[in-house]
């Protein structure tokens, strides 16, 4: 079996005295989409923040391309090829749409994604490129947030709650673009509360409950009841 792209081993995470993750492990292979689901406060976003370096962890708790990255700062992790689409999109309001994309690419990591390719992936953005990012609709903002992350040409893209606050038709549209991202050689971890959407897109799934993995397996083989049990802890 080839070495996984990302390997998380026995990861703990704390907010002060509060422990959010307990010995969590997972692996992501190249070209794979992994869904992480779970209730509010299960530790999904914390997991992504740890991988992205926004929360530092034990050096060997996270390995990427075989190298330990657990103790790297966020801006160094981006340079290694991991980009996060943060929950709530978090665009830079004083930057235009295009500037938001450009700043995602300012590290100059080589790869397939350029401004033109982002506009091909999301044609709706091209004509609004000079609009302040705060003037965009929620769906367009989410596209820019994904585009901003892609501009760093990541090998692993972390998506936190893509569906948050968006109409179902917009969410479907966004998820329909994910395969074209994977085709460029990028793996994805998608964190979602919308379980159906996430499981449909992913090959592997992980259900978190109170900071621990309650259920893991191939998303197609997980039964609805098993997920419900893992989700609510019944």
């Amino acid at each position: 079996m080839p070495e996984p792209l990302l390997e998380v081993r026995a990861l703990d995470a704390h907010y002060g005295d509060f422990q959010a993750l307990f010995g969590l492990s997972l692996a992501v292979s190249a070209g794979e989409i992994v869904a992480v689901v779970g209730a509010n406060g299960a530790g999904k976003s914390t997991l992504l923040k740890c991988i992205a370096g926004a929360i530092k962890s034990r050096r060997d708790a996270i390995a990427f391309c075989g190298e330990p990255i657990g103790d790297l700062a966020a801006h160094e992790v981006v340079g290694r090829g991991i980009a996060l689409v943060p929950e709530g999109r978090r665009l830079f309001p004083s930057l235009s749409l295009e500037e938001n994309l450009l700043i995602g690419g300012q590290l100059g990591r080589p790869g397939p994604w350029t401004l033109e390719r982002i506009y091909e992936l999301f044609p709706a953005l091209a004509e609004r490129r000079h609009v302040p990012s705060s003037a965009l609709s929620g769906g367009q903002q989410q596209m820019v947030a994904i585009g901003r992350a892609l501009m760093s040409n990541p090998r692993l893209l972390l998506c936190d709650e893509l569906s948050l606050g968006l109409a179902p038709i917009v969410v479907r549209d966004l998820y329909a673009r994910l395969p074209s991202i994977v085709r460029e050689g990028t793996s994805l971890i998608i964190v979602e509360q919308d379980i159906v959407q996430a499981l449909k897109a992913a090959q592997e799934a992980l259900c978190l409950q109170e900071g621990r993995v309650a259920l893991a397996g191939q998303s197609a083989t997980l039964s609805h009841d098993a997920i419900a049990a893992a989700y609510f802890g019944t």
């Binding site: 370096g53 700062a73 801006h75 981006v78 996060l84 930057l95 700043i103 300012q106 760093s152």
Partner: protein
């Protein structure tokens, strides 16, 4: 009437200098919400560095800017990276206290090294050169150079902020420092660059003011307050507003001084208070809340 015209023009020209004090302050507040109480003392430090350079190398103080500006920029980078970055956070108070302490250290350090004697930089014949713009309106060459330098500095900062990749990083780090790191920006480095640029501007302003008026180790806070007033009159976050703020301050002072020499400083403060009372956001605000 030409008498008043003259006064307004002199006020505008000195206003350019105030705007340069203010631009450095506005830059670092805009990028990292850091209020630098030591800004005025750094202006004085730049003047003393220029004094050393002119004495040691026997050069014109205007040429000394070529040495002082890079030195101050390097100092700014180190200061931010080694000290001030550690004070930044959700709370505005720690950087305020630390820069206040820095101000005390700078004043006493300068006093120790250079005594309390009042000093001035001598730029030679250019200081008294002037030309007649219109009947009865004379313009000094040096004040004009200072004003043009101020416009160039502020225009340059404007271009830097809105037309370059570094400016984009400045604005992104200002908007949301934690997300800025997620897109690969090293905030510690970006903030240190902002302080370096701020102190390079301080160096230019500090040398120009030291050619114009006397300085001593304790004069920093008086410089600082003009900078603050110009920033607040202009409105936070707007570079051209800062220039307007500096000019309003300079013109008010010039008019005050004409009415009664003792009113020069007071008139500037009154103009500042009036604008603060009527337009609390300043004349050209860009940063809200």
């Amino acid at each position: 009437m030409t008498g008043w015209g003259n006064i307004v023009i002199q006020g505008v020209l000195i206003g350019g200098l105030y705007a340069m004090f203010a631009a450095g302050l506005a830059l670092i507040f805009g990028v990292m919400r850091l209020v630098n109480i030591a800004h005025g003392d750094l202006i004085v430090l730049a003047a003393y560095l220029a004094l050393i350079a002119t004495d040691a190398l026997a050069i014109n103080p205007l040429a000394a800017i070529a040495f002082v500006a890079p030195a101050m920029a390097a100092l700014g980078y180190g200061l931010q990276r080694g000290l001030l970055n550690r004070t930044l956070g959700d709370d505005l108070l720690p950087p305020l206290l630390v820069t206040f302490g820095l101000s005390v250290i700078l004043q006493n350090g300068l006093l120790e090294l250079f005594t309390a004697d009042s000093r001035r930089l001598n730029a030679g014949a250019i200081e008294i050169a002037s030309f007649q713009l219109a009947e009865g309106v004379w313009i000094g060459v040096l004040p004009l150079i200072q004003f043009v330098a101020a416009i160039a500095v502020i225009g340059g900062l404007q271009i830097l902020f809105y037309r370059t990749a570094l400016g984009r990083a400045f604005r992104a780090a200002s908007d949301d420092p934690s997300v800025a790191q997620l897109v690969g920006i090293d905030n510690r480095h970006v903030f240190a660059l902002a302080m370096a640029i701020s102190l390079a501007v301080v160096a230019v302003a500090g040398v120009l003011i030291a050619i114009r008026t006397n300085f001593d180790p304790a004069i920093g806070p008086a410089r600082l307050i003009f900078g603050f007033e110009a920033v607040i009159i202009g409105g936070l976050g707007s570079m051209w507003g800062t220039l307007a703020g500096g000019i309003i301050l300079g013109v008010s002072q010039a008019i005050g001084a004409q009415i009664n020499p003792g009113w020069q400083i007071l008139a500037g403060h009154l103009a500042f208070l009036f604008i603060l009372a009527v337009w609390p956001q300043g004349l050209f605000p860009k940063i809200q809340g």
